[in-house]
């Protein structure tokens, strides 16, 4: 039923970002602020005896800084002791197995809210993007914004889910001042996507090695679309201000199966899902901007428990220990640390004969252990009820197929491409490229390679090397310069770097010259690379064979003992020192290290240098 208007919406949106300014101008959103200037929500201060909500209101960057400080301090204090306890833990981990399932909430990149035509916003004046329904005014009704499905569907497809033909909206009831209706509209009974999965490869781990040894596949139980809540701003000592701009911003909640057995795997999983959502342009901000939040379910079980000891089960995964849920983790690091802390707490509890209780726990960045928020008896009964005002969503197959076909390349596809012969990067370099600067570095790399390919279109043997060489320069040389600075692709334009590399590959300049050129461009030399080379007389003027031999003989004579080491003791690596000497003793850009080494080898009657 909804398939038709959906397609129309799709036609308008498929080739553009989701935030379509012209659409925004066309409609007159029913905003409280603009259309009904008479009624303004007078600021109401809620008096309360409650001192702080259980929500983390501190700015994220500050928490990060504090955490780092705390950790350094701790490391200094426990420098000696920690090693011992670390070892103790390792043996405990041989006995106990960790199991984790994750729920990830991500803000979708949409122009409008989920159930009103009010536009979404970030950091706008408080309460300026609020429709009647968003503020739960009496008599107002939800208007489902069908375009919000597009980023949601793309996310689900990218996570290999089955898109459900029919899905429905339910009300999840709980009272909190950031929830104006007294319930959140979510998809409990019939979510729009089910049964997906995500595979983590070694390159998805910062160490380049997965703790499981190989690729790990984690099942995704379901993805649902739901409303965000208002922002609570605490005005000390006891006043809360509410900003309803964020209310009903569309979110997706991704629920994984308990297929995760390492904290670092959980972190890699969150990081990778984050990357995928970004790659398909489904989300607005990264986790660190508050656009992504995670809850983790943690349990431990004895590895060698006798078969027949019945454990708990979740969605087909059985034999599980009692789990606890840690809510509202706002960074990948928090996910990893909270899991480790909770795992150790549970193991400690079980080893001392205790019982893990099913409860909800909290974690603040920098702390050593999770904190109990509420127990099972305090669990909220959400009283899920189908929303009688919202019709089911029916998604046509044609829509799903269209979105599948137009899905942007995902990180795994990119990595496969980068490590293939076409580019020749190592998987570590490939994933580094992908992760840096929100993918900007990768785009930059592709620009450099593209430029070099057109330069060398006729030279086959060079063509096959440009991918690897460019990778080296973009990651290592340029990476070194940007070490302490914010990345900017315009600092050294991609064509400038390509020109430097091209000169190098043509052996018109030496490697040292190339590095010098790069740092000159980096420091803001506005001249063209070609001009700098001419102006500063950097072009390689190769020495004649005789000159090379004369120079080589001269440096060899100065160090007879080293020559003996090389010839008699086969310490060939010492040749490099002589190469350096030859380069140092002649004018800039005249000695090529390769030619220098070849000459030295010839004089010392060593086997010629292998072609790399």
């Amino acid at each position: 039923m909804l398939a038709h208007p959906f397609r129309t919406a799709l036609a308008a949106f498929s080739n553009r970002p989701y935030i379509c300014q012209s659409c925004l101008c066309r409609v007159k959103p029913q905003l409280l602020a603009s259309r009904h200037p008479v009624i303004k929500i007078t600021s109401r201060a809620l008096q309360t005896q409650d001192n702080a909500p259980n929500k983390d209101n501190a700015p994220f960057r500050k928490s990060l800084k504090d955490a780092a400080k705390q950790k350094r301090k701790q490391e200094r204090e426990n420098a000696g002791a920690s090693k011992k306890s670390q070892k103790g833990k390792d043996t405990r981990l041989e006995k106990w197995e960790l199991t984790v399932g994750i729920e990830i909430h991500a803000e979708l990149n949409t122009a409008r809210k989920l159930f009103s035509s009010a536009t979404t916003s970030v950091n706008e004046l408080p309460n300026t993007h609020v429709a009647l329904f968003d503020a739960a005014f009496p008599g107002s009704q939800p208007h489902f914004q069908i375009e919000t499905l597009i980023p949601a569907l793309r996310s689900a497809l990218a996570l290999s889910c089955n898109i459900q033909q029919k899905s429905t909206f339910d009300r999840k009831h709980y009272f909190y001042q950031d929830q104006p209706a007294g319930y959140q509209i979510t998809q409990y009974y019939e979510p729009f996507a089910r049964d997906g999965h995500i595979t983590l490869y070694p390159h998805d781990f910062p160490s380049g090695v997965s703790p499981e040894g190989g690729p790990v596949t984690i099942g995704i139980r379901q993805i649902q679309i739901e409303q965000d809540t208002a922002k609570t701003v605490l005005q000390p000592p006891s006043t809360y201000l509410l900003d309803f701009n964020r209310v009903s911003h569309p979110l997706i909640e991704i629920i994984t199966l308990p297929h995760i057995h390492n904290a670092s795997t959980a972190a890699a999983c969150v990081r990778k899902i984050q990357g995928i959502l970004k790659a398909v342009n489904a989300v607005t901000a990264g986790m660190e901007m508050g656009g992504l939040r995670a809850d983790v379910n943690v349990s431990v079980r004895e590895r060698n428990a006798q078969a027949g000891v019945a454990g708990l089960s979740y969605y087909g995964v059985s034999g599980l220990g009692q789990r606890t849920e840690i809510k509202n983790l706002a960074s990948v690091k928090a996910v990893e640390e909270a899991i480790i802390a909770e795992r150790d707490r549970q193991i400690g509890l079980l080893e001392s004969g205790g019982v893990v209780e099913g409860e909800t726990r909290g974690w603040t960045i920098g702390s050593k252990t999770t904190k109990r928020l509420r127990g099972k008896e305090g669990e909220i009964d959400y009283r899920y009820m189908p929303d009688p005002d919202i019709a089911p969503i029916i998604v046509g197959n044609d829509v799903v197929e269209h979105l599948r076909e137009t899905l942007p390349m995902l990180s795994d596809d990119y990595i496969q491409k980068l490590v293939s012969k076409e580019y020749g990067l190592t998987s570590k370099d490939a994933s580094t490229l992908l992760l840096l600067d929100d993918g900007d570095r990768l785009d930059y790399y592709f620009d450099v390679v593209e430029n070099l390919r057109s330069t060398f279109s006729g030279t086959r043997d060079v063509l096959s090397r440009v991918g690897k060489v460019a990778g080296n320069w973009v990651l290592m040389e340029l990476g070194g310069l940007f070490k302490n600075e914010e990345w900017s692709s315009s600092r050294v334009p991609s064509d400038a770097l390509a020109a430097i590399i091209a000169h190098l590959l043509r052996k018109q300049i030496t490697g040292r010259t190339a590095k010098l050129l790069l740092s000159m461009k980096f420091e803001g030399d506005a001249r063209l690379v070609e001009h700098i080379i001419i102006d500063d007389d950097m072009i390689l003027r190769p020495l004649s064979r005789q000159e090379y031999t004369a120079l080589a003989e001269k440096v060899l004579e100065g160090k007879p003992d080293m020559v003996r080491d090389i010839v008699e003791n086969q310490q060939h690596q010492k040749l490099k020192w002589f190469v350096g000497q030859m380069m140092a003793r002649s004018a800039e850009g005249t000695v090529e290290p390769g030619a220098a080494e070849a000459t030295l080898r010839e004089l010392l009657q060593l086997p010629p240098l292998e072609q790399k």
Partner: protein
Amino acid sequence: MSRLPSYYKCLAKQSRIAHLNAFISLADGASVISTTPDTHGSFSGKSIAIKDNICTSDLPTTAGSGILKDFISPYDATVVRRLQDAGAVIMGKTNMDEFGMGSHSMHSYFGPVKQLGRGEEGISAGGSSGGSAVAVKSGYCDVALGTDTGGSVRLPAAYTGIVGFKPSYGLLSRWGVIAYANSLDTVGILANSVDMVRQTFNLLNKYDPQDPTSLVPSTRSRLRTPKSAETPLRIGIPLEYNVSTLKPAIRDAWICALRLLQSKGHTLHSVSLPATRHALSAYYILAPAEASSNLAKYDGVRYGSRAEGIDGTPQSVLFAKTRGEGFGPEVRRRILLGTFSLSAQAIDNYFIQAQKIRRLVQQDFDNAFSAPNPLVSSTSPSVSNSSGVDVLLCPTAPTLPQLISNIENQDSVSETMSDVFTVPASLAGLPAISIPISIREDHNDPDLSKAGVEQTAGMQIIGQYGDDRLVLDVASQLEVRQRVKI
């Protein structure tokens, strides 16, 4: 101006009906007179009363609740806007059971509604749209809007002896109508004549994109053109409605109405609606469940009243006290009932079972009617059920209106018994109208005679989904026939 617009006359009555407590707020006389009526509008000069759970930006909208006692909506409901655009003048907002929860308009923050009578003794106007019914009955307005969730328009119409119509669910916009149980809530129309009801219905029966449950134009076009009431119709008599507690006066009026229709050339057929027995129980699970959800928004944070002093402790939310004080006892009771029936331990046994009964009730009606349900059947109008009927005729309520003093001593379960005949059509979303039928003098209720109330029984005509016009046409025939006879 040759004709004095009716609202001038109405204004003159203001003080005479004040003791009936039919209104929560009245339009300021000066402002009503100063509004130049749009002489071109189809409702030009017509005076309208609006139930106080329908949003108006000129007058407060309280839903009869303390929690909204000072609330002024920032916008007008679509039905209000359509009436005003057609030239109608809003006279005031009518009193009601808080959020529509009640059958006698007694559960209002603003005090109970009484219906017109001579004596001291107040008589129930029915609920929850009692204020709207009394406003019409007393001649204070030409037509009044009410809302009907389980009979809240039809019951007051029956008790006050006027016409009350609940259209098919989804025809009249609910945008701006404060939700009680939104899968059942329907805007209803109360007037002294079927014709006035029909005019109002025709004006308001339009698709509204603001209401997500408003029937879309493509579905509206699929509703069949109903039979004409001029051709012989098959009138159904639902046997399950002939309950032992049915008052003889009402059974007698029912027979009388059936005879009137028979004399018009229609044929009478008994019909069985077995799920009706469970309809009331199902309704009193579903409606409170939805209410507990819909009323969760009233926390005094963004609008509405707040409890005095500090509200909120580390153990509770910031509005536990506000909600406790703002709602009346009946609303609190239904919120608690609904909260229970939606809870994880109870939902399977209560809410889900009640939804199943709701489906059975609808299937009962579909089996009884000759016309297929256009929302259920596929696009092609399937073969009509030749043994089925065109409309059903049954009483609106099992009793005549009662003395307020008697009701005050009732428990809430007996209050709900008044809804037993109106709830099935609500569960199935069907069009239903209540029209007054005179009762024989020897059946007159002595209490009502003493109070000087005109004694009529409400008869209900129920049609298949979308057969709203047929229901109105049959009502007209009954109305005309009766007048002729009297």
